[in-house]
């Protein structure tokens, strides 16, 4: 029943967008959709009915467990803030003639639909169903990247679609393997995650390694893991910043979520040691590539995009450790990264509106007098940068620190390598911020730049996210811990 409510709300939002005449109406529909979704998932958590398996639609395909609702919560919060942010941002895109008013309906329609598809993906019990929703998120989010109708945007979108979809087909072959494994072991094949978890103990390890490796290709491409990460920087840089925040904060999580789910199945078989090694190697390679690519970066959004790749690598390494405590911090890191990264992209969007650097793709970000012109965005980048590199008081510090502690017990050499790479990444971020933000025009030539009047709707999301991550980083409530422990228990770690 609850799922029907989600679908109905999304349908209503889509109807308003189709009938809507003004930008304000369409945007409000998206804000309302995300807000109602947030309220629904909040109600689900508080009413403590989770895991919900008795749905009107049939419990064979959908279910709601703690992990699913956790991801949905993160996704809806980011969607809500991004929709608030989008009002001012998109209006300015139209004024700058980067987006035609005719595309608005398409933009917000895809936006509202994307949220629904993501929620359905997180609530899918059937892995094949999850696969299809994930594939749909690729296609729809690629539309949002291509919306700016510049050649580079279309190129980036096409690259994104093909790399992600081709890799996802490998995942599908992996799912066929998994199906065949369960059929040969139990008799009737299934891709139902809850059933697979119960049967997993008797699965043959060789087949499971093959199945996991194939499934991993697709979800790794979705979450920007090396060597399938090449679409990510381009798509994130070209997309409107409100969309970049969603790509980085929500869509990368969809891929990681898939990996976590399938890894939970593998974790119950004897194949787990081989698969852990695979995750560790790919995690380290990903962080390595990301850290080195961050170093020479001269574009803010690209820097932030590579930092996303780095954090996905950290998540993989955390998963590879595969202890309950490591999983706890992986889940915490998913949330911490999503909120921090959304804040960074929102701030970067404000700066790009000020300095108009989106249309000259390869130009260096030339930002001057940042504090005088855009104080909120500047502090958003500085505090967000401190947060994402893992300074204390911020949640990423906690998750990184405890993941490193866990890694020390698992594979000490990897810990040393990872630490060095994290220092490089943090250094790259710091260097960029210090170099860019200290550029001040000499006195007298100051009024060269006209101040972009940032609407309150664009500043507020940045401030809200900064407050959220400060709270997350300093206060850990027992409710939060109990909730995450519940997730770990359901994943049977």
């Amino acid at each position: 029943m609850i799922l029907a409510a989600f679908v109905l709300v999304a349908a209503a939002a889509l109807a308003v967008i189709t009938l809507g005449r003004t930008h304000r109406q369409m945007n409000s529909a998206c804000i309302a959709e995300a807000a109602i979704f947030l309220a629904l998932s909040g109600w689900l958590i508080l009413s403590a009915q989770i895991p919900v398996t008795t749905l009107a639609i049939g419990n064979e395909f959908f279910f709601i467990d703690h992990l699913g609702i956790y991801e949905v919560l993160i996704a809806t919060i980011i969607f809500l803030l991004a929709a608030v942010y989008a009002r001012g941002y998109v209006e300015n895109l139209i004024e700058a003639r980067e987006l035609s008013r005719g595309s608005l309906k398409f933009f917000y329609g895809a936006w509202a639909f994307l949220l629904l598809v993501i929620v359905l993906a997180f609530f899918s019990d059937n892995l094949a169903l999850f696969w299809i929703f994930t594939e749909l998120t690729t296609v729809i989010s690629a539309m949002l990247v291509a919306i700016l109708y510049a050649r580079d945007n279309i190129d980036a979108a096409i690259k994104y679609i093909f790399i992600a979809s081709v890799s996802m087909l490998f995942s599908f072959v992996g799912l066929i393997f998994l199906f065949e494994v369960s059929r040969s072991v139990v008799g009737t094949g299934t891709l139902n995650w809850t059933v697979l978890m119960q049967q997993a103990g008797s699965f043959p390890p060789e087949m499971m390694i093959a199945a996991f490796a194939l499934i991993f290709i697709g979800f790794a491409a979705k979450s920007g893991i090396f060597p399938f990460h090449t679409w990510l920087p381009e798509a994130h840089v070209r997309a409107p910043s409100a969309v970049s925040a969603i790509l980085s904060g929500v869509l990368l999580n969809v891929g990681i979520y898939g990996i976590i789910r399938v890894f939970a199945i593998v974790h119950r078989t004897t194949a787990v040691s081989t698969v852990s090694l695979l995750l560790l190697v790919f995690g380290l390679l990903t962080v390595f590539i990301a850290a080195l690519s961050m170093l020479p970066q001269k574009k803010l959004k690209k820097l932030i995009a590579f930092s996303s790749i780095e954090n996905m690598g950290i998540l993989l390494i955390g998963l590879a450790v595969a202890t309950p405590l490591a999983l706890f911090w992986v889940l915490f890191h998913v949330m911490a990264h999503a909120f921090t990264k959304a804040g960074l992209f929102f701030s970067a969007g404000i700066l790009h509106r000020q300095y108009h650097s989106t249309l000259s793709p390869d130009a260096v970000d030339d930002m001057r007098d940042v504090f005088a012109l855009q104080p909120v965005a500047a502090w958003g980048i500085i505090l967000g940068g401190l947060a994402i590199t893992g300074m204390p008081l911020f949640p990423v510090f906690l998750s990184k620190f405890f993941l490193l502690v866990q890694l020390a017990g698992f594979f000490p050499v990897a810990l040393v390598i990872l630490l060095i790479l994290l220092f490089i990444a943090a250094g790259a971020f710091g260097y960029f911020v210090i170099r860019t933000f200290t550029q001040v025009s000499p006195a007298g030539t100051l009024p060269e730049m006209i101040r972009y009047q940032t609407p309150a709707g664009m500043n507020i999301p940045v401030i809200v996210l900064l407050v959220i991550i400060l709270i997350l980083g300093t206060v850990i409530t027992t409710g939060e811990v109990a909730f995450l422990d519940q997730v770990i228990a359901e994943l049977m770690f």
Binding site: E98, V139, Y149, R151, I158, F162, V166, L169
Partner: protein, 230 residues
């Protein structure tokens, strides 16, 4: 009732047809025939599903045959062909990394590699029977050959055809290795249709609005100049 041995040999012939079509898709430069070859390839899959159905009597196969026929033999090729008419691209002569000859040699090596790899993985499972094992090998090879098309061609529309032929490979693999629920096959078709529509729209956008885009860019700079000016 038709003799099972006959059906099995028919399926073997169909395997050969699939490989030939895949080789053609890899090497041809003519875009119009590319679409018809894709339709032929899908039609081969339809026949294969029908042959398997008469062999095993599983109704899901019949459903797959119908859905594949409608979507991949009729709707998608028609749609792509009509888009091609509109954007007037007849030939895709640009190859990224691989020339057709190297691709063909590479795909032969791929088929051999997959044969050996699958023989190892499927050792001891019931799927290791000759016909079904062969189907799995051909399916995976078709998939990898499609992937080569996707990554070695420059035009988005050829990439789409590579992707579609990859998906045919997955379908073939699924058909022979296991019995997937019908609903899954159906949903994948929906995904395919959306992907095809989207990429072709993007391609049209890429080709037809380039002028307009440059105009916009120009205008934007003009606006920027007056704003930034003293």
């Amino acid at each position: 009732m038709i003799d099972p041995a006959l059906i099995q040999s028919v399926i073997r012939i169909l395997f050969a047809v699939v490989i030939v079509t895949a080789a053609y898709i890899i090497s041809t430069r003519n875009l119009i025939s590319l679409v018809s070859v894709y339709a032929v390839q899908s039609l081969t899959l339809v026949f294969m599903a029908l042959a398997l159905w008469s062999l095993e009597g599983v109704t899901v196969l019949l459903g797959i045959a119908v859905v594949t026929f409608v979507s991949k033999v009729l709707v998608i090729p028609y749609f792509i062909a009509s888009i091609q008419e509109r954007i007037r691209i007849r030939r895709d002569i640009e190859f990224h990394f691989l020339s057709p000859t190297t691709s063909l040699l590479l795909s032969m090596a791929l088929i051999l590699f997959i044969y050996i790899a699958l023989a190892n993985i499927l050792e001891g499972t019931p799927a290791r029977e000759s016909l079904f094992f062969f189907g799995a090998v051909i399916g995976l090879s078709l998939m990898l050959m499609g992937m080569m098309v996707t990554f070695s061609r420059k035009r988005a529309i050829t990439k789409v055809l590579g992707y579609l032929s990859m998906e045919n490979g997955v379908l073939l693999f699924g058909m022979f290795v296991t019995e997937l629920p019908f609903i899954i096959e159906f949903l994948i078709i929906i995904d395919l249709v959306i992907l095809v529509i989207l990429t072709t729209i993007l391609t049209v956008g890429l080709d037809s609005t380039l002028e307009e885009y440059h105009q916009r860019l120009h205008r934007f700079h003009l606006v920027g100049d007056t704003e930034d000016g003293p």
